[in-house]
């Protein structure tokens, strides 16, 4: 069983839609939950991270962690064409050094 499972998509939505991206994981030792965004032909960049459970909001982006279900989500409100990218979830334990990545979900926002 993989440490982290992520639906690869691809996901295609109209501009302005609400997007939901999800990952599940198996290791209860994970404490840091991250979302990276990767534009075509670029390296991944950290979008946001959450420590332990709960929600975190940053502009149009909301990250949710449900540790009881081992389920994390990223919501994008009012999606824009510039949000078109691959989104990777990443998890780390308390030591924080080694990250475990999902396979990434490819998102296209159509104008």
């Amino acid at each position: 069983q993989k440490e982290v499972e992520q639906d690869p998509g691809p996901l295609s939505v109209p501009e302005g839609a609400i997007v939901s991206l999800n990952c599940t994981y198996s290791n209860s030792a994970f404490q840091y939950f991250m979302w990276y965004r990767q534009y075509s032909r670029k390296g991944p960049e950290l979008l946001m991270y959450t420590y332990s459970s709960g929600n975190k909001e940053d502009g149009r982006f909301t990250a949710q962690v449900d540790k009881s279900s081992k389920y994390i989500s990223l919501f994008i409100r009012d999606s824009q064409p510039s949000d078109s990218a691959t989104y990777l979830c990443a998890l780390a334990s308390n030591t924080g050094n080694q990250f475990y990545f999902g396979t990434g979900t490819s998102l296209t926002v159509i104008p």
Partner: protein, 113 residues
């Protein structure tokens, strides 16, 4: 801003060649990582290093070696390239201690013919 640079964006090599991929970071980070990224498999850790001359195997080290002679530079070596090593290779750096963001370079797309 942290900057991680990789020596080549695109590289084409032949089977059996020795291949060097270089990564340089300018933020004095202790930790450096090499990943490969393949469709459907995501990012998989090949090797990482916590200090100069120090290395640890990741999840898929077979067929690869690394070198870290200076703190800012981390090299990935394919001793004898094979077609199944055709992939996107990503380098990352991270400050030591607890949780810290990993900063990625732009990647090297390696094709082995």
């Amino acid at each position: 801003d942290v900057k991680v640079t990789q020596s080549s964006r695109y590289l084409v090599k032949r089977t059996g060649e020795k291949v060097f991929l270089e990564c340089v970071q300018d933020m004095d980070h202790e930790n450096m990582f090499w990943y490969r990224q393949d469709p459907g498999l995501g990012l998989r850790l090949i090797y990482f290093s916590y200090d100069v001359k120090m290395k640890e195997k990741g999840d898929i080290p077979e067929g690869y070696s690394v070198s870290r002679e200076k703190k800012e530079r981390f090299s990935l070596i394919l001793e004898s390239a094979s077609t199944n090593q055709t992939s996107m290779y990503l380098c990352a750096s991270q400050e030591l201690g607890g949780y810290n963001e990993q900063f990625f370079g732009p990647g090297t797309r390696l094709t082995v013919l």
